[in-house]
Symmetry: C2
Subunit: 200 residues, 2 copies
């Protein structure tokens, strides 16, 4: 690294390099951009980070991040309390909200079962999910987990665990994504789309 | 964006998205990574930014960034004061220092002449460069500017301006980069390397 930049800049670069999407080289570029725009970018970002550290907490009901606990979604009377959508992480919850495809509540698992990474059921928020699913008024649990090996393993495990609760357990449909050209799709997706075909 | 994330998180995401190399999507991922690692990443980064904002300044001699003014390079008695290496930006200075190919001092122009972007000589630190070049003891000014149209325009302009000062004006060699396979090189580089060929 650039010894001449001084330890303060080096520390800034090494912290920025820990962000996903930034490597050592782009972290240097980001640090330079910050130092060049001290008042417009560096100070506001420093403040936004400290505010976020102060105020953002994990919702004790669903596991999402918000400045209030329970979070805005869990306390929103407009949202249907009979539907619980299970997602892997808060990023997936945000994606669902952007799509505005769901008007119930969420449950953030905090990861996926993974034999390879040694992540078992006790590491995830599965107990609280079962407890929520057995509450009166809950009718359906939608497993919105990724279409990966770990995602599907987790979905099967959850479906089994939820069997006794009496709720309907569903999962997201599989098929050709919007704008998806067949030429560019993987074989797995084409196969799923073919098997799940429906009347036109 | 995710309205459910709250204004504090939205502001953090939009500031992160202004960093080079991060778009809206990767800024969200970065914000999530920060919020998940509050004590290991979020708080340290907030602190590093505020320390950098407090302490890092522009060197009044060479234009580099450091916590001292004049900077560590300008005040280092081990470095040859007879050589001045002209670079576009602090990022280029850091790259030169990483390569450890130069033991003189620097001059950061703060940009390049660009007719397209309306950047004229008065917008760059050219006056101070001429002043430094005429100081007694300065023997050589090395133009380490990018091999682009703007870089070369700027280099020619500086060479002309420096003509009367009596210093030797040089520029970095052009040719095949280390590890460069001819197959992957652009025609311009191959042509330059051929014209500048030397005995093996």
């Amino acid at each position: 690294m650039a010894a001449s930049a001084g330890p303060e800049i080096e520390r800034l670069i090494s912290l920025l390099a820990k962000l996903p999407g930034l490597g050592p080289r782009s972290a240097r570029r980001a640090a330079l951009a910050l130092l060049k725009r001290r008042d417009q970018l560096l100070l506001p970002l420093s403040e936004a980070l400290s505010i976020a550290a102060d105020r953002v907490k994990t919702c004790s009901v669903c596991g999402s991040l918000d400045t209030q606990d329970p979070c805005a979604i869990c306390t929103d009377p407009q949202r249907d309390p009979s539907l619980i959508c299970v997602v892997e992480e808060v990023g997936a919850l945000w994606a669902m909200e952007r799509a505005a495809a769901f008007k119930g509540r969420y449950h953030v698992l905090g990861g996926l079962l993974s034999a390879l990474d040694g992540i078992g059921p006790e590491a995830l928020r599965i107990g609280p999910l079962i407890a929520r699913a057995t509450e009166p008024g809950v009718k359906e649990v939608i497993l919105a987990l990724p279409a990966t090996v770990d995602g599907q393993t987790t979905a099967h495990y959850l479906a089994e665990r939820l069997e006794g609760t009496g709720v309907t357990v569903t999962m997201l449909a599989r098929g050709v994504p919007v704008g998806g050209e067949l030429d560019w799709l993987d074989d797995g997706t084409i196969n799923q789309a073919m098997r799940a075909r429906r009347p036109a």
